[in-house]
């Protein structure tokens, strides 16, 4: 089991690998790798490319990935809110949940302008570099917050906050406002305004945010109409999740 899982993770990290490459990478005998690949292929968890003979993840992985995402109650409940938020503000909307030290994007609505955009569902963004992550962490219990602040804080752009003390102050402000703002801290040229979503325990379950060009979202400070719409979506989603009227930070 363990070895099969390692093969699948290796294929998840590289687009396609041959038996020899896998055996080198994982330190397993070629015969072992071959046998495991055959078993995984029967279950459609991996597939072999016809022309190169190399292996990649199979169609069954997509179904597993989708059911993993569907298991998040938040995702299901966010579909309607995210769609109407995107329509209202004319920008893209993302919904994310915390996954260790990163935010996992579980839902993404494209900017409604018919332009070609890439689907960011499944992307992981370090929590401190995006408004979604900061919105969630600002409402986490102090102990968890402190642990995250003392964790790794990689720099994604020149504007990423990588100083724990600076971030701590930012989180205090976010908890006061109920809205988190990110100014090109994950991607140059891009900004995000996000609001936390609370579950029926009053704990932050995730966040919903509007993401778009910095010149549109933060021209003279955060666009008031976007802030209002994001806050409303966050509150509405929290209500749908069974959260009480006022979320209390602990």
């Amino acid at each position: 089991m363990d070895r099969a899982a390692r093969i699948m993770k290796a294929l998840g990290a590289s687009p396609r690998l041959g038996v020899t490459e896998l055996s080198d990478k994982l330190g397993l005998a070629k015969a072992t790798v071959h046998g495991l690949l055959r078993a995984l292929e029967r279950q459609e968890l991996v597939e072999q490319e016809a022309d190169s003979g190399k292996y990649r993840l199979g169609a069954a992985m997509l179904q597993l990935g989708n059911s993993f995402l569907d298991n998040h109650e938040l995702r299901g409940r966010s579909l309607m809110w995210a769609g109407s938020l995107a329509t209202r503000v004319g920008e893209a909307v993302r919904v994310g949940v915390m996954n260790g030290e990163t935010v996992l994007i579980v839902h993404h609505v494209f900017r409604p302008d018919n332009s070609l955009q890439i689907l960011e569902v499944g992307a992981s963004i370090p929590w401190h570099a995006c408004a979604l992550g900061k919105a969630v962490v600002a409402y986490m219990p102090r102990q968890r917050r402190t642990a995250l602040l003392s964790g790794e804080l990689p720099r994604l752009t020149g504007r990423t906050m990588t100083e724990p003390s600076v971030l701590r102050t930012a989180l205090e402000e976010i908890a006061g406002l109920g809205v988190a703002v990110e100014d090109q801290e994950a991607v140059v040229g891009e900004a995000e305004i996000a609001s936390p979503i609370f579950d029926h325990h009053g704990d932050p379950a995730g966040a919903i945010g509007v993401v778009g060009p910095v010149e549109r979202l933060l021209q003279d400070g955060p666009a008031a109409a976007v802030v209002a719409a994001v806050r409303e979506a966050g509150r509405g989603l929290s209500r749908d999740m069974g959260a009480g009227r006022f979320a209390v930070r602990r």
Binding site: G12, A13, S14, P15, I105, S115, L116, Q117, I118, E120, A123, I125, R155, L156, T157, G158, T160, Q184, V187, V188, G189, E190, P213, E215
Partner: protein, 231 residues
């Protein structure tokens, strides 16, 4: 253009050291860069469609169109450094996405360095190109290997410097820089993006050529051609 029979700066030329980083060079560089970007606009957008928002070519084209307008609206005797600073700021404001702030900052810092340079020579160009890369890295925090502009600019700069240091003429240095940028672009293909929205794709960014690096190679290609003509 001068008569084709006059091959100044060619092999065996005695015009060594005659090259001047003046306003006419700067204007020609921007015009040539704008022409190449216009020519490659659809290709750049196509590259971006694979790992981004499919707007890189359109944005760069708009930005360099605005840069040409900046050239026209500038006084003919505006110093080269100041002119490039203006071009840089135009690109920051007129090109969307990450490319505007990054390339705009690069040109702005190139301009500032030229303004402060002791002499308008090849050394000044080297310092300016170095400052341009520094500015881009300050803003984007990208390192070589992240599949960005840096992967074309950094090798081009290294080639330019080592060519000058080994006694090469400025046109030779510019040619080696342009070649290195092109090789740098090809090297982005197998890289996994670690910066920008393309990084959200994880391993799916592998196998695609980086649009930002490609545009960078166009800028260095334009530089090579204009230096060759003015050297």
């Amino acid at each position: 253009m001068s008569s084709p029979t006059v091959r100044r700066g060619g092999v065996g030329s005695t015009s060594r050291g005659a090259w001047v980083l003046d306003v006419s060079f700067v204007r020609r560089w921007i015009v040539e860069a704008a022409a190449r970007i216009e020519e490659q606009r659809d290709f750049l957008t196509q590259l971006d469609a694979a790992i981004g928002d499919a707007d890189h070519g359109i944005n760069m084209h708009r930005g360099f169109g605005a840069a040409l307008a900046t050239l026209e609206s500038s006084a003919a005797d505006q110093p080269p450094g100041e002119l490039l600073e203006r071009v840089g700021m135009t690109i920051v404001y007129r090109v969307g996405g990450a490319a505007g702030p990054l390339f705009g900052t690069g040109f702005r810092d190139i301009g500032r360095t030229i303004s402060d340079a002791p002499a308008p020579d090849a050394e000044a160009l080297l310092m300016a190109l170095t400052a341009g890369l520094d500015g881009i890295q300050r803003l984007g925090a990208a390192a070589p290997g992240d599949k960005t502009i840096v992967d074309a600019w950094a090798p081009a700069l290294t080639a330019f410097e080592s060519s000058l240091r080994s006694g090469g003429r400025v046109d030779e240095a510019a040619r080696e820089a342009a070649d290195a940028a092109t090789i740098g672009v090809a090297a982005t293909l197998p890289m996994q993006a670690r910066k920008g929205r393309a990084s959200y794709l994880g391993s799916r960014s592998i196998g695609h050529q980086d649009p930002g690096a490609t545009s960078t190679a166009l800028l260095f290609g334009a530089l090579e051609r204009v230096v060759r003509r003015t050297a």
